[in-house]
Point group: C2
């Protein structure tokens, strides 16, 4: 895709031993963390150049462009590596629920009981 | 820690082949995604019960309680698994910068050029 320095980005990316890196998917306007998926180099290339997120499904061992079967598309708004380029943050516009369970985001379901830290607070 | 069903949580967690799961760390009030770290069962137990985040450092192969050397503590506010319990989202109050580079968050440094998706927008 003209103007996108995709080769440079792919050269910078640090993939794990399995050839994948985790991609945190965040709703661009609300800040909700929707899900985490995995990308190999090709999924990353597609995500940067197609305006939609593509993941590598570890369970199905195939590419998975979010929304192709469900309609719950993620339109890419921006993306950034972390400081050592082994994690990606993608800000998206999520159409409908992000989770295959039908929940808006994958993390809503069951908050854990925690000891809350910080001055003057307890769980 | 009394009242925390830590054993149940640990039994639900799905760790990877390396015994780790990724933990997305988010500032609880602003929604900023600060960083991603990895936890094994013991790091997860400590994070749920100590009010502060502990990670497993893959590079140093040791536990790392965030802020012990830098002072840049992460106070735990809440935590949730995703739908298949192989990723954790932890909402924290981050004291100072989250990144070892001194940046507030690890993802600020270098946003990537992307093709923006969605109706009526282009990069």
């Amino acid at each position: 895709m003209t103007g996108i320095q995709t080769d440079e980005v792919l050269a910078r990316a640090t993939f794990g031993a399995d050839g994948l890196l985790p991609a945190v998917i965040q709703q661009h306007d609300t800040g909700e963390v929707l899900m985490l998926g995995y990308m190999d180099a090709e999924a990353l290339r597609r995500t940067l150049t197609e305006g939609r997120t593509t993941f590598w499904s570890r369970s199905r061992q195939e590419y998975w462009r979010k929304g192709d079967t469900s309609g719950h598309v993620q339109y890419v708004k921006s993306a950034a590596f972390d400081c050592d380029a082994d994690t990606l943050l993608v800000q998206v516009d999520q159409i409908g629920p992000a989770c295959h369970t039908g929940a808006r985001r994958c993390f809503d379901v069951d908050p854990l009981e925690v000891v809350v830290g910080g001055a003057g607070e307890s769980s």
